[in-house]
Symmetry: C2
Subunit: 228 residues, 2 copies
DNA sequence: GCTTTTATGTAATAGCCGTTTACATGAACG
DNA sequence: CGTTCATGTAAACGGCTATTACATAAAAGC
């Protein structure tokens, strides 16, 4: 229930949905004011509660950010999984869908993506690291989708030519993440270049897959003189 | 001139070197307390001056971070340039040195790297974006080194098979940055994987270059059945 | 139904930070 | 020597995080 200015209207002393609304507010504020113009107090204002209220749902500011990261990873993993669709109809087409889904998530939830990966965000706090972000089970689920995709692609190679799976998965991940990180962010470089992230990722992956020996024919790129 | 605890000792009312010392302090604090545990006041304490002193050298906190980014980009560009060394002795060996220099910088100056690229840091402030980071002349100089390397590599291809230079440069950049971003950061994923960033980058680049058709022989990877 | 317990909100407060303003110091320059 | 300008300090304001004591209402037990 939002009023005209986007603040959550509540009818009783208790809010009823504060935790969710705070997470939404956090994502919105992070998008607007950069990764760390975000303030717990402003999120509380957006939700229409006192500055102390959030502490009933999150131990501290970092805990809220960690939760943004965690829930972000869950949506991320689910989305990648749907896009990959077990490699159907073909590993290659599914792989392309996977790449697009990766970039789509980063574009549609830049705040989540930033908190998930640019862990200056949920980085270490007092003593030990927090980074619920990148080492959480949800994060692993996301990486596992990439790894399954890598496995399906490598399965097309003769056994003695297969590089380590984890390595291939990392290559895929690092390129996807590199593009997301460089392109998606507001002022972050690469914006003058007249190429969409999707173009860069797809062309890069085609070249990479060609190098792996996975592409069936002269697919996408111009030269077609291998597998003679 | 540092005292036992690392604080800058000054002998006169005037500091004499405050700007530089503040930048050093900022990098140190960003490394320690995560990308944004950094506080201007603490940097001032480290430098042994009052909290207001930094404002004689930087308009505000963001300006200091922007300067960390700018000077970071300058060292970064210089280092990449030295490593590339005009493609000498061979484009391939120089390219490998370039990749190692990229990762070495990110490892040795994680604070600079974070501020330079994870622009939640020097991101937008009030109205328009600040991000002196990624679109500064120094940043372009760095990217130009990558682009020259891409050009040298592509020059080994027949003209009609050369992909757009900017595209290849972007592929190189995104993979390097992706690895730096995922590996270097404290808690940021990818740490359980028993691979060094250098291994991931080099193997990934070998596959990519093979896909480009740039590798002279069965170089590095196992299969060697192209250019028949 | 009534009371007790528990969950979830507020108010008030302390301490830190960023930033500004008025003032102090001393180096550079005549 | 005296003026000027660069560079420091002190004091203050408002905003933020976080804690504590208290308020309110929903849920649970009887």
């Amino acid at each position: 229930m939002n009023d005209s200015s986007g603040r959550w209207q509540r009818r009783s002393y208790h809010h009823g949905n504060l935790k969710e609304v705070l997470l939404e507010a956090a994502r919105k504020l992070i998008e607007e004011h950069g990764a760390f113009g975000f303030s717990l107090a402003e999120a509380a204002r957006l939700a229409g509660v006192s500055p102390a209220a959030p502490y009933r749902h999150f131990r501290d500011r970092d805990a809220l950010l960690a939760e943004v990261a965690r829930t972000g990873f869950e949506r991320f993993a689910a989305r990648l999984d749907v896009a990959w669709n077990n490699g159907i109809p073909t590993p290659l087409s599914a792989f392309e869908a996977l790449g697009r889904a990766y970039l789509a998530f980063a574009r549609e939830e830049p705040a989540s993506y930033a908190v998930m990966f640019e862990s200056g965000a949920a980085a270490e706090h007092g003593g030990e690291a927090v980074h619920a972000a990148a080492s959480s089970p949800a994060a692993e689920k996301a990486f596992n989708v990439l790894q399954r995709a890598a496995a399906a692609l490598c399965r097309q190679l003769p056994e003695n030519e297969r590089p380590p799976l984890k390595l291939v998965a990392m290559h895929i991940w690092t390129m996807s993440h590199g593009i997301a990180s460089l392109f998606i962010q507001e002022g972050s470089a690469a914006r003058k270049i007249p190429l969409s992230p999707e173009e860069v990722l797809e062309s890069g992956m085609l070249i990479y897959l060609k190098g792996l020996g996975v592409l069936p024919e002269g697919d996408g790129q111009e030269s077609s003189k291998e597998t003679p």
